[in-house]
Symmetry: C2
Subunit: 132 residues, 2 copies
Amino acid sequence: MKLITKNSDYAIRAISYLSGKKKPAAVSEMSRELKIPGPFLRKILQILNAEGILSSNRGKNGGFTIAVPPDKIRLTDIMLIFQEPIKPGECLIKKNPCPELGNCLLRSRLNSIKMMVERELYSITLDTLIER
Amino acid sequence: MKLITKNSDYAIRAISYLSGKKKPAAVSEMSRELKIPGPFLRKILQILNAEGILSSNRGKNGGFTIAVPPDKIRLTDIMLIFQEPIKPGECLIKKNPCPELGNCLLRSRLNSIKMMVERELYSITLDTLIER
DNA sequence: TTATAATGATACCAAGACAGTATCATTAGC
DNA sequence: GCTAATGATACTGTCTTGGTATCATTATAA
């Protein structure tokens, strides 16, 4: 079970990188600096742009800039963009409702763990991840 | 992100089921009662047997019985058998060490969440999941 | 005004985990 | 010795993740 995928991870690094700059940074530059494969990073940045977290400038000397201050971006925001949301497990409650024994109890325990994790992730804003 | 997979889920249901019985239960019976696909359940039970959690009797009137009391089986035991262990994310720390900015901070936050989850899962023993 | 350097949009491919099936071999009881 | 069970193991399909590739569009600068 992976908490965070590379998608999200790279997205966060990219945002961190951009948070230090005023001028737009191009994919080529960021790919070089952050050591992230160019085409992949590009796709990620395009998505972040579409989500309104970054803004983009096309054409020569173009690139991406931050559109939302990092202290307004939560870790869950990023993860929800790039990953499947947290689920206790496959939802088989309706189809396969705990036959006689113990599945409901399991579900409720897992659900509380899920909520705990979500609460934690929600509490983390990106500004707290950027070293100065 | 799925906390628990069907593998583990079914394993737990099967153990719950067996905990109520003295005589061996065959796959066919359990498949019927628990509404779990036969061949899949069979594979799961064979693994639990190999792990020493169940024991098996071959031949006619054979089947599976519990070999370890449910209060000695932790949720993590089951999950480690059937799923990938919890990881904060792909381990790219060595190859791709937080270039200038914020990845180490992210890792440490994720790691503490990971440990929190593991602690919770470890604290759950199967006897607490069985309704009487 | 044209070459060029950038993004927009999108289609495509590969690996790995998960979910499940199928089959042949072996064993034990009646 | 038939039959009902497990042992062992190989195989298939699907989904998510991780990534590549390509064509179209836009803006700048010479």
